[in-house]
């Protein structure tokens, strides 16, 4: 049964230090309120998996010292430039980075979704991504001849954390087109979700809505967090706050500036809810 919690802080308390934590791309709703709650609770040694790429979620957690490892296809603030805390952490070897490519992350999560130990993937051969991954394997396609292909081990996150437009008390969460969130929930040992609102009734009872819903079966805990994706957006609900993200990018060029940002926008505040 899904636990219905009252705040992002309670969600963050369920994600232990050292967890392998899967997080969605910025175009799927991100639980920024959950990320801020992790910073507030002083999470340590998180191992982040970007599905498939990162922006400000990884920036905040890395800058606040919550992260020991990260696996992702990219970290970027998009039109606001490079991700300064990530770049700094790499240059000063504060975190371990495992570079990968987007479809390798999707495939490795699908392996866990399907309960198989690996998935094959085309591409990659001849890249330095592959050359630097001793956890991957290259072998012949057993149905081909002289046809090497990459074997990727399944990735099973300890937890996944994301935001949804709406959920219900049964733990069902509407995600619409953002099916990567469903794969993440299926593949992870636990799935934690903040939502804009908890609606009456059962999201699975209407066939139109059900088609875009993750059943509560896969959701460990849910909590309401109004504007919980801010400064990122929720498609069809609110836009990303580009002014604020630009302000972040400016401040985060230095650790001092980042600390000031954290103090003003994260640690000195309790959750918006």
């Amino acid at each position: 049964m899904t636990a219905v919690l009252t705040s992002a802080a309670e969600i963050a308390a369920k994600i232990p230090d050292g967890a392998l934590l899967a997080l969605p791309p910025e175009y799927a709703p991100c639980s920024m309120e959950g990320i801020r709650a992790l910073v507030r609770r002083g999470a340590r040694n998180l191992r982040l998996l970007g599905v498939p790429q990162f922006g400000i979620q990884a920036e905040l957690l890395i800058g606040a010292g919550c992260v020991s490892e990260i696996e992702t296809a990219a970290v970027t603030l998009g039109e606001h430039g490079l991700a300064p805390r990530f770049t700094d952490a790499i240059k000063h070897q504060k975190i371990t980075m495992r570079d990968t490519t987007c479809p390798a992350i999707h495939a490795a999560l699908q392996a866990s979704e399907k309960g198989v130990p690996f998935m094959p993937l085309r591409g990659l051969i001849g890249s330095d991504i592959l050359a630097r991954r001793d956890d991957w394997h290259v072998a012949d396609n057993p149905f081909g001849e002289n046809d090497p292909i990459v074997y990727l081990p399944a990735i099973k996150p300890d937890a996944t954390l994301f935001h949804g437009a709406k959920g219900d008390v049964h733990g069902n969460v509407w995600i619409g087109l953002r099916r990567e969130l469903m794969v993440m929930a299926h593949a992870s040992k636990a799935a934690y979700v903040t939502v804009e609102k908890i609606v009456d009734g059962d999201l699975l009872s209407d066939p139109q809505t059900a088609a875009g819903t993750i059943p509560g079966l896969y959701i460990s805990a849910i909590a309401k967090a109004h504007k919980g994706a801010w400064p990122l957006g929720v498609p069809h609900y609110y836009e990303r706050d580009n002014e604020h993200l630009s302000h972040y990018a400016e401040l985060a060029r230095t650790q001092e500036g980042f600390d000031a940002y954290l103090d003003e926008w994260v640690t000195s505040r309790t959750a918006a809810e």
Binding site: A73, A74, E79, C102, I129, D147, I149, E180, P235
Partner: protein, 249 residues
Amino acid sequence: MSDVMSEVRTEELMIAVIARMLSGLSHVAVGAASPIPGSAALLARELSGGTLRVTLLGRTSNPTFTDGARELFDCAAQGRIDAFFLSGVQIDGQANINLVSIGDPDKPKARFPGSFGSAYLYYIVPRVILFRQEHTARTLVSKVDYVSAPGVSEENLYRPGGPHALVTGRCLFEFIKDKERFLLKSLHPGQTVEDIKRETGFDFDMPEGSGVPNTEPPEPDWLKLIRGPVGEEIREVYPEFATRMFGSS
């Protein structure tokens, strides 16, 4: 050159050059951090009379895909994407691209976002168009420091896709697969062969015969489309690019 033409910005010229290469295709996808290719794809769609389908990653209105973030890659694997676009912090003469770091990757002098889907799509999509506005010996190098994705592969490797051309702020290169080298195809306004040689860190081939042609400028009605509906549509995904290029909405 008309007054309109003299005001063509480099980005607009690149958009037109890329759009020409998309003529006759069925489905073009545009990945992250690609405002110029995105605009080119939308322009090509306008010019196609609606037969070209354009998928812009990161857009939420008018979706092409309904199966989540993996669908771009699955769709390409199914042979349903004809062209894609990649850039690099470094691109070398064998069309290797680097999206990761400068110097030793373990102790990099500079770190960039990462390889995104390049290490897959570069192998799979038939027509991959490389683009990089900054054309200097710093960006176009003799050998990349890190191979996010290689330009060419061994014969036996499954690789239906690969590099088709490289569009920069100075010129257009075509990639010749048999030779594993770029061929200088056309010069943007104001550029000479000597400029290109000086600013390019890798060796490239010259066309046979009488010199290098000039890059064909955009048609006047193309510029109207770029500055009008295309610019408005690209704003959804690239608001800063659109404002810089076309002003506020």
